[in-house]
Symmetry: C2
Subunit: 251 residues, 2 copies
């Protein structure tokens, strides 16, 4: 790529949008400058452009994003066939097992939820399409990392900010690489309270007709509802059915 | 705003993202140029910038958005307290009445879903946070338009592409303005198969502690489940409770 093919103002503007986030709903020009590393004048121009286009509101001091910004993420969700294709299967699966079911894809060191059928909320965080979790400690993340060439999976693990969310969280690269090998062999990943105490989840890869892993499917359940063994005996068969049904459908 | 405060490359780039959408998941440079009105060279530079930053994938001919683009919409969803605040109420309401419940806000002539608790899917379209519907023919849209000064509501109605989705859809500006007056008096809007045959929905405004309408709440139900009268007698009382519970909570 030649440097002249790069629209610097566009790249900076996208960084400004990403500066907004949880616990940072209202930002000043100074806040955005700090958050993005852009100089104040550039941050200001990007923010004013967002306001002029209706993607942000400005009260003279603080900027906040408006719902118009959802058009950008929605461009992906409505353009990509994956969420539409999997949603009916997720709905049926979630209803059948009485637990939440989700589909996600890998984006860097994180997984991104692209579809979800929720039963009663059991996690402390609210997951919707677009939500992110660190891949290394999420069942869908383990499945997606296990599907990568080993060197690539290792690089992602090493680049991850590996916190022990609970006393059970695996954080050592070697332990994680061994876990990926187990996942490849068994065809599923089971997370037993590694992300959050009281929560278990099980995931399988979703392959397309050519055998390439394009996404992961999971079921999450309160630990009080299902032991680790229950997760496998109760939920895995229904997940295998969805996996098989989707294989010829996914591109 | 001075012209020098506007980052043209940023504005063009955002238009390029919005060019992707349903039925347009994969676009060539020419497609994007046509869709946005940008010249080919500009469209190309914006697309290559998206690809360079990982927001798009490029196979040498077609561009498609990647899940990274969801970060942009998610910046709003996670930054804005509204979705988080209303979600537990929506979950409870949806479970209580056995129907889908949603919250949306107005964006131009459309409503945007910011939170949703879905029961079995009844609409032909798949609604998730970020989904849009024309305000004039959606129950939440009627509630939000009814809360505006009349001249403003009329301007939005007149700017709307008012199609008769079904034989029941109100499309005449005068009929809609009368409907808004009814909504203001009764405190709720009822849509009886105006958006889609077989679907009814009822909406109420959500006010903040200062009495300003900040969003709308609705319940949608298959016509076979509930007559228009049932919508009011069965669902409205539970919706009124949510409305009252949220009033002190909403900013």
């Amino acid at each position: 790529m030649r440097e002249t093919d790069f629209v610097g103002g566009f790249a900076k503007g996208l960084a400004v949008i990403e500066a907004f986030g949880e616990a940072k709903p209202r930002l000043t020009i100074t806040d955005v400058s700090k958050e993005t590393g852009l100089d104040r004048a550039t941050a200001r121009r990007c923010l004013l452009t967002l306001a002029e286009l209706g993607y942000a509101a400005y009260d003279g001091k603080f900027f906040e994003l408006t719902p118009k910004i959802l058009r950008l993420g929605h461009a992906y969700l409505s353009a990509t066939p994956l969420p539409r294709l999997v949603q009916p299967y997720l709905d049926q699966l979630s209803e059948k097992v009485g637990q939440s079911a989700s589909v996600s894809v890998l984006d860097g060191v994180e997984i991104v939820y692209v579809a979800r059928a929720a039963q009663k909320r059991v996690m402390s965080i609210n997951l919707t399409p677009g939500s992110r979790l660190p891949a290394y400690c999420a069942s869908m993340g383990r499945v997606l990392l296990a599907a990568l060439p080993e060197a690539e999976a290792r690089a992602i693990v090493e680049a991850s900010d590996r916190k022990a969310n609970t006393p059970y969280t695996k954080t050592e690269p070697e332990a994680l690489m061994e876990e990926f090998a187990r996942v490849r062999q068994s065809g599923y990943a089971l997370i037993d309270q590694e992300l959050e105490i009281g929560l278990r989840s099980i995931a399988v890869p979703l392959e397309n007709a050519r055998g390439r892993v394009v996404a992961a499917l999971n079921i999450g359940a309160p630990a009080a509802h299902a032991s680790a063994e229950d997760m496998v005996t109760r939920y895995l068969p229904a997940m295998r059915e969805v996996q098989a049904a989707l294989r010829p459908v996914l591109a």
